[in-house]
Amino acid sequence: MSDLHTLTLTEAAAAIRDKKVSSVELTESSLKRIKAFQPKFNAFVRIDEESALAGARACDAALAAGKSRGPLHGVPLAHKDMFYRRGLVSTCGSKVRANFVADTTATVLEKLDAAGALQLGTLNMTEFAYGPTGQNAFIGDARNPWNPDYITGGSSSGSGVSVAARMVYAALGSDTAGSVRMPSSICGVTGMKTTFSRVSRAGCMPLSQSLDTIGPLTRTVADNALMLSVIAGVDARDASTSNVPLSDYLAAAKPGSLKGLRIGIPRGYFDDKLEADVKAVQDAAAAVYRELGAEVLEVQMPDLDAVNGAGFMLTWGDVHTIHSQWMATQAGDYSPQTRGRIEVTLGATARDYVDAQRSRARALKEFNAKVFSRCDAVLAPVHSFPVPKIADVDVSGGATMLRILDEITRLMRPVNVLGLPALSLPSGFTPSGLPCGLQLIGRPFAEALLYRVGAAYQGATDWHSRMPTAAA
């Protein structure tokens, strides 16, 4: 087989299973692209060439003996550098953890290992996942393969870049206030912010335990469903995981009619400050959903500005606690941008934090009553403005930087406070030539429904199959 990098995760797994390609061939193909594009895109923190090739050889030998390890047998992946693997360094994107050797392996990595996946290395990320632009002064910025002058989105920057540039077939990210959805949108890939408690966080770096979720970034909805079917579920190592039964994500992620389904176009909050280029993408997507048989209707949003405020209180309380000791003893090891953001956590009191926790159930009930009584999923922008340039959000960027940083997560953070799932889908391009994604927001644990809606959309459009010319 040629052009192995153009295969989707689903196709790559099937090709190995059917012995049309070996795991070694697939791994070597990925390594070749990683080596070619790493100087350009800086997606990787560490490349595990030898261990990945050894794993690939073992997978090929197992398959030759008639033994498949699972649905991802022999497929090379890579993950944000915050998923611990025993005995290896997880930098979490920071000098503070430059030499941190994990003494445990994340449950999500154990599950991927058990499914037969290989790990090619670890991926770039915003320092401690605390920032939406994807910049990193310690590792160096990951670069957007559509145009290196523009941000990648973060904090799962390397995950978005490596999947978009066809260096790996899928990657894990984390989403606390948009860190899966933002790089998915800006790099032109498919990303799932999972329902709070759906995926274990054991062995993952915490940013804000109140809001952190783990989710996959992939090329297609079907690939995303395949990844989630492997990593989702209750975990004895993470008491916050839910025992709500798993849905059949793979069965849901098939293109089809959406007749009888109601897609809500938000009125209020999501359309505040919405720039015309992004609205045009949303309008075009709504037209596609109508053609697919869905009823598309306007739905008034509750007061999400207050919910967004609660999100800051929750994040600040958690971040302040986690980083308190290091900020007292080695503040100089943080980059100025991250240190500045952590300093702002001094603004929350214990009462603010506890009241924010107490308010979540009320906010979720209100959102459910006002929104999901009228529609099955909300089609909303991920961000309200076209992708900014790195220079616009640099630490010395002045007023423009502050405006963008304030606005950039506004449309995503409330979804984390409410604990809802949201699927970011490539939905078009803005005039700057950068991708623009939209998020489908669903009821708690409605990942399967979102995959159904997303798969129907990808069956009718080709945005998800566009490849950056710089990575051709």
Partner: protein, 68 residues
């Protein structure tokens, strides 16, 4: 709720052992107050019996029905 001041921020920083200048403390107070004001709209609705544990219970109770 009363407004957070730079002095409040400095006091918190001192307790935590963080080094923050008075000017920076004023900036932090200003940045925090806008978010706290937004959140106060939700906080004002809270009743005596609402607790933090209610969130997970609600999340599961409102889950997507399998039939959808």
């Amino acid at each position: 709720m009363s407004t957070l001041t730079g002095e409040d921020v400095l006091a918190t920083a001192k307790r935590a052992g963080w080094s923050v200048s008075p000017a920076r403390a004023e900036e932090i107070a200003a940045a925090a107050n806008s978010r706290i004001t937004s959140f106060d709209k939700l906080r004002a609705q809270l009743t005596f019996d609402e607790d933090a544990a209610g969130f997970m219970t609600t999340l599961v109770a409102l889950r997507q029905e399998e039939s959808k």
